[in-house]
Amino acid sequence: MKLLLTGGAIRGLPVVTIAGGEDVAEVRDLIYSPEAGRLLGLTLNKRGFLAGRRREVLPAETIHAIGRDAVMIDDESSLTPPDDAPEDVGAPPSKRDVTGDEVLTEAGTSLGHVRDVVVLVGSNGEVAGYEIETTSGGTGYIPLPAQLAVSGTTLVVPEATKDFVENDLVGLGAAVDDFRAKLGMS
């Protein structure tokens, strides 16, 4: 059983130092690599009412954990100027976004369109699956690693994925391990 969070729930979370107990920033957006199936980092806003963008980014390696209520970092040295960050974190390619992509199985069945990524709680950015808008217009959750190919408009996923479309995050949390075991990925 895994605890999961959608990207939408991570945006706006405070970024808190473990040693200092200070909220030094908040999450602006997620930098996601569909190829790697994980977050590469987070972009940041300033904390408080006058929230504006912060220049610094949080590369995934500097994140201690993404939790339900906060993103934890060791200390402020984790806030990395874009020039010092890995290139795909400091200046992420703009066409990285998977939202809106169609999810097709290998046999050619459309499962729907990607609405958000689903991140494993307590990790530093492991993506467990996707929230999709199903072809019937409802909300579904599919596990990852699942896709075989990513084109910028379409994700191709194993046929087995269609047996693992869950109605909620709790269902997905329970299904991820089964799914990965079935694909021999554990």
Partner: protein, 148 residues
């Protein structure tokens, strides 16, 4: 014997040398790194004064004895002003686990009145050992994620 912050709050602070009652204990500040009571605050608002744990000659059930009135001092910096205002109190503070989950608030703190060593953090009906405390600041106290 252990003592609790919640029970100690409001206890009278008395000078051992002059036997004067100096006011009521208002706040206790913890040195997070050493898990030890560091500073105590007597009185509230503008009249709040601080004294160091090292100047406590006895932390008793009826009074906190300090070595003398000259052990009391006014806040000298930002941190001590925050302490005097109760902003550094661990009790009542939001607790986040190091995995980013809200597990608080911290409702009380158990310490050894002989040494000032923090023993236990009380979070509602749960207790966590003081060794699980990783850090604390204006936003939250950070505690190692409890095993479930």
């Amino acid at each position: 014997m252990s003592e609790r912050f919640a029970a100690a709050a409001g206890r009278k602070v008395v000078s051992r040398t002059s036997a004067e009652n100096l006011g009521k204990l208002a706040h206790i500040v913890v040195d997070v790194t050493h898990r030890q009571v560091e500073l105590l605050v007597v009185g509230k608002g503008r009249k709040a004064l601080l004294f160091a744990w090292d100047d406590v000659s006895g932390f008793g059930p009826d009074a906190v004895m300090v070595s003398g009135e000259d052990a009391l001092f006014e806040p000298r910096d930002e941190r001590e002003r925050a302490a005097a205002d109760g902003k550094l109190d661990l009790a009542g503070q939001r607790a986040l686990s190091d995995l980013g989950n809200d597990i608080g608030p911290i409702t009380d703190i158990v310490f050894d009145p002989e040494t000032g060593v923090i023993e236990t953090l009380v979070l509602g009906d749960r207790e966590e050992p003081a060794t699980s405390l990783l850090g604390a600041g204006s936003y939250a106290a950070v505690i190692r994620e409890p095993a479930t």
